[in-house]
């Protein structure tokens, strides 16, 4: 069975893309974007992570189940993040004093 799940070309292109996105992240860091710089850096990191998972970890080339499992993990992390931050961000919203 000499067939490759993923081609050499895909591996090389992914490698170059990952390096390029890292450079982009550094440039974002230098730009004066205030608090958005972390958000954008994390978004770029998410793209890099997706490439790593899809190509190097074979998520894109394996059974659908793997993609479902990964998506599940991401969704659960987002559940945790949004509902916790939701608490902190809505604390000041009550229009009467004392809470």
């Amino acid at each position: 069975m000499n067939t490759h799940l993923v081609s050499l070309r895909s591996y090389v292109l992914t490698w170059l893309a990952l390096l390029g996105l890292t450079v982009l992240t550094i440039l974002i860091g230098f730009a004066n974007l205030g608090q958005f710089s972390v958000l954008i850096a994390v978004s770029i990191a998410a793209v890099q992570a997706s490439l790593l998972a899809a190509v190097y970890m074979h998520a894109l080339f394996g059974p659908t189940l793997v993609r479902v499992i990964v998506a599940g993990g991401i969704v659960w992390f987002l559940f945790f993040l949004t509902q916790t931050l939701g608490d902190y961000m809505t604390r000041g919203w009550v229009p009467f004093p004392g809470k």
Binding site: H4, Q35, A49, M57
Partner: protein, 217 residues
């Protein structure tokens, strides 16, 4: 079907394909559980960053940005060489497989060395929370919080990396004794998934700890 593949078939499985797919499912579910470990820390970090953005920026400014960036590049390259190792396992090229596994280990060890250097520098600069921390300025407590998360999260990552290096070593030894073939190289695949996952975590750590520092400096 080669002898190596038949010998490796465990009793509870009916076919090698079933064994391979089951191993893959198991590894990915494990990866998701690891994601949740780091998730909890990312959520905690997010909460504190939201409440004290400026002290956290100062904390990022104290990071060694060049070393951190080199580390990111090192791990990305090591994921690439790991993928090449998998490629050669699929082809049955034992020599190239071992070579790329060794290069991956080398790059991972370089990362480790640089990380430990950074830790030492933080120690020298009095930035280790509780044990040796000094920050002249208001909101020292919040800057210390940044460093608490930094040490816990990168420390946990280092532990996972060291385990990865151990796994790679085991794979090198097994490859050298000819345990793998084009029909059976599932452990190499699984090691690849684990190693790339270690890289994924680092990329996010780099984004939250180092990137804001570029602007400060």
């Amino acid at each position: 079907m080669s002898e190596a593949a038949t010998l490796a078939l465990r009793e509870q499985f009916a076919t090698p394909r079933q064994q391979r797919e089951t191993a893959s499912i198991g590894m990915w579910v494990f990866v998701v559980s690891e994601m949740m470990i780091f998730s909890a820390l990312f959520v905690g970090f997010a909460v504190y960053r939201l409440s004290s953005p400026h002290p956290f920026d100062i904390g990022s400014g104290e990071m060694e940005l060049t070393l951190g960036s080199i580390n990111t590049v090192l791990l990305i390259c090591s994921s690439f060489t790991m993928a090449l190792a998998v490629y050669n396992a699929e082809s049955g090229n034992q020599r190239w497989l071992v070579l790329f596994l060794l290069i991956t280990m080398f790059l991972g060890s370089l990362f480790l060395g640089i990380k430990l250097t950074e830790y030492y520098d933080h120690f020298r600069d009095h930035k280790v929370p509780a044990l040796w921390f000094h920050y002249a300025g208001s909101s020292a407590g919040k800057v210390q919080m940044f460093f608490i998360f930094y040490f816990i999260m990168t420390g946990l990552h280092v532990i996972h990396l060291v385990v990865g290096l151990g796994l790679l070593l085991v794979m090198v030894v097994r490859s050298l004794v000819g345990a793998f073939s084009p029909e059976y190289h599932t452990p190499i695949l699984m090691t690849g998934v684990y190693w790339s996952f270690v890289d994924v975590i680092w990329i996010f750590l780099y984004a939250i700890f180092y990137v804001p520092g570029f602007h400060i400096k």
